[in-house]
Amino acid sequence: MSNLSRRKLITTGLAATAGASGLAVAARLADRYGLIPPDHGGVYGAGTTLTYASHRLLTRHSLAREFAPSQISKAPFAKLRPFKNEAFSRMRDSGFVDWRVEVDGMVARPSSISLAELRSFPARSQITQLACEEGWSFIAEWTGVPLSHVLSAVGTVPEARYVVYYSIQPNWWHSIDMADALHPQTLLVHGMNGAELPIGHGGPLRLRIPRQLGYKSVKFITRLTITDSLERFKKGGNYSWYAGI
């Protein structure tokens, strides 16, 4: 009997050590290949990490579905509650001619880019669906400059891992990894359905990331910060950082 329990103890110990070191190796590998999201800790860390890791492996070259012009929603819904912001009101009254986007952080050339300059950059138009985490959705044609174009214009350093993007609304920002930042469908949108982007949909400038839910497509973009760590940038709200679901 003592023989048996010693053997059991040794096998259990070996299995536990193998399991633990296997997990440690998997975690090291996953981190190295960018499969660990910044919100991997806590009770829900396992679920969000599994989702992020599997999506990063699966969606490396995938494009969000694009639709035919006939499928564009006649009634695109915007759930914008009126907000008071003096700077915004002032710029709206002058037709947003003073709207600028500051680009800072891990870039070779920190810049301040005007809306007119952004509009002069090569634009891309795509008809994609915006899906809100609440459950509703609509399809629109979005026109804007690929974020990758802006990033290469300012020269991101190789160590850069995330792009943090700020709204003019106070304390409102989100961030994405470089895989999504450099994705061809990730746009700084200034036009919608052939016209200027309406204020309700985030005009004059909003980010669109069609492979993630709507809450990552922040409206009224005024600043981009390129960084290698999100430690300083607490996640906005308690929603999952990655919203590809």
């Binding site: 829900y44 989702t51 699966l58 969000a64 819904f77 459950g135 929603y239 590809g244």
Partner: protein, 255 residues
């Protein structure tokens, strides 16, 4: 050594009150059953929380507060821009609900895979769930349905083997409802659909997937309710004991 192990195992079994208690469910069935039960409750609770943020359903690709709905749930919403007819807005609990929903979804996928793979190779599915084992005839099935509709107490033999209706229902839950819930769930993921567009297009679009996801959940709730009612009718303590300890008390000496 091998003999020694075998002997000690047998003596343990002999020491148990073998005359009135016999093995019923394997450890794997019991563990996967309770993890699935826990996950299903988590998914239902968080699913209800998520759905009240927009209790309207649509068919096709798109749908929002500006478009007509297929049907509305007669409940208030947790967001002010949904016109529900109620004058008040429920508290918004989507933060933890969404996290819990996807964590439980991952857990139930791994649990389901473990159950199905081991059930295929271990013979559990063939022996205990394929209806042929209990004689799949129209008469047997209609008798079981009639008994279920009256919530009649199952006879003693059914403590040891699933009846035909149970087998058909469990197979439908395992191989139709859960996979359909996972499929329609994935069809709502913009990233997954960017790789596998057919997941959404085959169903008619994103909003169709959401609507089907809702109806599959309703069917799962219905299954859960009838399942629990029948467990109570059949003898709650003995059935719970069988699913927790793996052993059930038998009324006859030789079941």
């Amino acid at each position: 050594m091998q003999k020694h192990m075998a002997d000690s195992t047998w003596s343990l079994v002999d020491a148990a009150p073998a005359a009135t208690v016999a093995p019923r469910h394997s450890a794997l069935v019991r563990i996967t059953h309770w993890i699935t039960a826990l996950c299903l409750l988590a998914l239902l609770l968080s699913g209800i929380e998520i759905v009240i943020s927009h209790p309207r359903f649509y068919w096709g690709e798109t749908g929002n507060p500006m478009t007509p709905s297929l049907f509305d749930l007669p409940i208030p919403a947790s967001r002010p821009w949904v016109n529900t007819g109620y004058a008040f807005v429920l508290p918004d609990q989507n933060g933890w609900s969404r996290n819990l929903h996807f964590e439980a979804a991952w857990a139930v996928i791994f649990t389901g895979l473990a159950y199905v793979i081991s059930g295929l190779f271990g013979g559990h599915l063939r022996k205990n769930l394929v209806p042929a084992g209990a004689g799949l005839t129209r008469r047997a099935l209609s008798k079981d349905i009639a008994n279920h509709l009256r919530f009649r107490r199952p006879d003693a033999a059914e403590a040891w083997s699933y009846n035909v209706l149970q087998r058909v229902t469990y197979l439908l839950v395992i191989f139709v409802l859960f996979p359909l819930a996972i499929w329609t769930g994935l069809a709502m993921s913009p990233a997954i659909v960017s790789v596998f567009p057919f997941l959404a297009t085959v169903l008619g679009g994103l909003q169709s997937a959401r609507t089907i996801h809702f109806f599959v959940s309703v069917l799962l709730v219905l299954f859960l309710l009838i399942h629990v009612i029948m467990v109570c009718r059949a003898g709650f303590s003995n059935r719970m004991r069988a699913m927790i300890t793996g052993r059930a008390a038998s009324r006859n000496e030789n079941p």
